[in-house]
């Protein structure tokens, strides 16, 4: 180690305790790292804030179009007056659609959960410890991202058939977990890079067990990475068409399969209506969840 590196560590050490203390107050939610009060650059209309708002507008633009069309009285892309006809169809006449939606939902939750747990733990293990198979796991960890989807789909289908695992929800879950793992792993790894190990040593020196270190020190500090990873995994899982197509079995069609197979006759505006319902549903859950989190924070 050269002098500069050491200097950095010393400086960080000086900072960390205060961070830890603030984190344990837990006043602002479960994982927020306290904003730095010293370097004030919080101008509301700074370049980066404006860019963020513009990019989010860019991301929502097609969504506005989708939502607008969901209220269109007729099919197609020309406005013919306000109507709730597609919502009526969605709620009263779309049994198959809801079944596909339910399947998608179950798969997204389970596969992202398992991928997040396995991926995060592996990232911690690989970044912080040295062991023999480290290089192997590191290499294999991002491969599923590189291989074209259609190839993953076919090869997994052949594999499942060969080992006689019946196609269905379970095989979709396995496939989704597999392609989600690299994203979680790499995101959490990026978060762990240059992580200050001295806080772990400090925790241990103060008598914390490995489990306590994991729960009280490691997990809170990598939480933004874990959260991002999980969000990304849910997104990938809800989106995937090709791999799901190949590994799905009778009765396990997901929403993308349902939608893509409408291509030949034109995608029904009922799907537009579903988008708004989905977004409102997510917002509702988020609100409820927020209350719930706040009560927990208050009681502790």
């Amino acid at each position: 180690m050269n002098g500069k590196g050491q200097e950095r560590i010393v400086k960080k050490k000086r900072l960390e305790p205060s961070r830890l203390v603030e984190e344990h107050k837990g006043s602002s939610g479960p994982y927020r790292i306290p904003r730095n009060q010293v370097f004030q650059d919080h101008r509301k209309f700074g370049f980066s804030n404006i860019m963020l708002v513009l990019v989010i507008l860019f991301l929502f633009m097609p969504l506005f179009v989708v939502i607008t069309y969901s209220f269109n009285a007729t099919r197609g892309m020309r406005w013919n007056g306000f109507s709730l006809v597609w919502y009526e169809k969605l709620f009263f006449d779309s049994k198959e659609l809801w079944r596909a939606f339910g399947n998608s939902f179950i798969i997204a939750i389970t596969s992202s959960l398992v991928a997040t747990i396995l991926g995060s733990l592996a990232a911690v293990g690989i970044k912080w410890y040295k062991f023999k198979s480290r290089a192997y796991i590191q290499t294999v960890s991002f491969l599923p991202m590189v291989l074209p989807e259609v190839i993953i789909g076919i090869s997994m289908l052949i594999f499942f058939t060969a080992v006689r695992i019946p196609l269905g929800m379970f095989t979709i879950f396995v496939a989704h977990t597999t392609f989600n793992l690299p994203f979680v792993f790499l995101l959490v790894s990026a978060r762990l890079d240059e992580f200050d190990f001295s806080i772990i040593e400090a925790a241990r020196d103060l008598g914390a067990t490995e489990m306590q270190t994991l729960v009280k020190v490691i997990i809170p500090s990598i939480m933004p990475g874990v959260m991002s990873g999980m969000l990304m995994a849910v997104t990938m899982s809800l989106e995937d068409f090709v791999i799901t197509f190949f590994v799905s079995g009778p009765g396990s069609a997901t929403l993308p399969l349902y939608v893509y197979s409408m291509i030949r006759y034109g995608v029904s505006p009922v799907i537009n209506a579903l988008s708004l319902v989905l977004i409102l549903g997510i917002m509702l859950i988020a609100l409820l969840f927020r209350r719930f989190l706040k009560t927990i924070a208050a009681s502790s």
Binding site: T74, R75, G76, M77, R78, N80, D93, K95, E96, R99, G102, N103, I106, I109, T110, S111, L113, V114, I117, L118, L121, I154, L157, I158, F160, T161, A162, P166, L167, G168, M169, F170, F173, T209, E210, M211, L214, F245, F246, S248, G249, P250, G251, S252, A253, L257, Y258, V259, Y260, S261, M262, I263, R264, Y265, G266, S268
Partner: protein
């Protein structure tokens, strides 16, 4: 000691997470199975909406069973999946080329005619064209049709009502053709007076030349997924594709603005059939379903949904309540696209020069 304890706890957490995940998955699966009233479930593998939900519900009610639908977005996808080991479906709906391949590959069950009295309604004309299975030993026709050309009459006033419309330089940058090798090649072959199933190198080369030199320069793109959207927004004025896709995107009040026609020189047509794949678990019920579909009033309900002409069924046409988008007679000069076997490579090579090079 402490380390071991830790390992154990960690394993416990992981195990718990996996158990929860499997439980959720299991409940998700059993829920859909348990709701089958008669205990029996029929698994269909089809395009989304291709069998109207109302028809499915009637079948479920009458027979006290549950029907589960699964979807594919192209014959090729469906076949690749079945080929690699996908199974568990009771009825699959392939088009003629894949029907014949599945018959050749012994992937389908024999049809028991005694169980499907409604086979008497199948149009003999269509069976004549289905040379791979004229006796319906392995497959029962479901629906037949052809791709045609839709013209936006509010934008284009004078045009040729045949395939040469794509050579019209006045319409450059406003036209699209399907991104489908056999369809586009078949159109060009038919326009030149050849069979859409030609494997003669000279004829294929002539078709290639026609597409690359006269049609392609005028096309915006080859598009099978979004052409109907862009036709409805006015971006495209002339599109080659399925009538139902084009009209689905338009409000009925605008249907008068569209001229949809099948070029008189002929071209490729399709015939989707119902087959029972080997490995189907409900062969009996599958026969019942095929019989049910071909009841004249049920079949008319299906035709109404898509405004199809009654090309496959002899009786249902009279029971239709809507006007079909094109007439069955328009398809007189049309040929079924057959599987060309090894010669597919010739098509592939030509299609590469059309699609990969610009």
């Amino acid at each position: 000691m402490e380390r071991k304890n830790h390992t154990r706890k960690l394993t416990a957490i992981l195990a718990a997470a996996l158990v929860i995940a499997t439980l959720v998955l299991a409940t998700g699966c059993t829920k859909s199975d348990a709701s089958a009233r008669g205990g029996k479930t029929l698994y269909l593998y089809n395009w989304t909406y291709y069998t109207p939900e109302s028809v499915i519900e009637k079948f479920e009610k009458e027979f006290g069973v549950k029907v589960v639908l699964d979807y594919f977005a192209s014959n090729e996808d469906m076949f690749a999946k079945l080929k690699a080991g996908g199974s568990g479906y009771d009825i699959v709906f392939p088009s003629q080329d894949y029907t014949s391949i599945m018959i050749n590959q012994k992937m389908v069950h024999e049809i028991d005619h005694a169980k499907i009295p409604n086979l008497r309604y199948i149009n003999p004309m269509i069976l004549e064209k289905a040379t791979y299975d004229p006796q319906m030993r392995w497959s029962v026709p479901y629906s037949s049709g052809a791709t045609g050309i839709a013209v936006n009459k509010t934008k284009v006033s004078s045009y040729a009502r045949d395939w040469s419309i794509f050579a019209d330089t006045r319409l450059k940058g406003r036209m699209s053709m399907l991104d489908d090798m056999r369809e586009v090649m078949g159109d060009a072959l038919a326009h030149l007076g050849y069979s859409v199933n030609s494997t003669d190198p000279a004829e294929l080369a002539a078709a290639q030349k026609l597409i690359n030199e006269q049609w392609k320069p005028n096309l915006v793109k080859f598009d099978a997924e979004g052409f109907a959207k862009s036709f409805s927004t006015g971006e495209f004025w002339v599109v080659h594709g399925y009538a139902e896709a084009v009209f689905e995107e338009l409000d009925e009040s605008r249907w008068g603005e569209v001229d949809f026609f099948l070029p008189p020189e002929g071209g490729p047509m399709y015939l989707d059939s119902m087959v029972i794949p080997t490995g189907a678990k409900n062969v009996e019920l599958a026969h019942e379903f095929i019989n049910f579909i071909h009841r004249p009033e049920i079949y008319a309900e299906f035709l109404d949904r898509f405004h199809y002409p009654a090309t496959v069924h002899t009786e249902a046409g009279a029971l239709m309540t809507v006007q079909p988008f094109y007439r069955g007679e328009d398809m007189a000069a049309y040929e079924l696209k057959y599987d060309v076997g090894e010669d597919l490579d010739k098509y592939n090579e030509i299609w590469q020069t059309i699609r990969y090079v610009n």
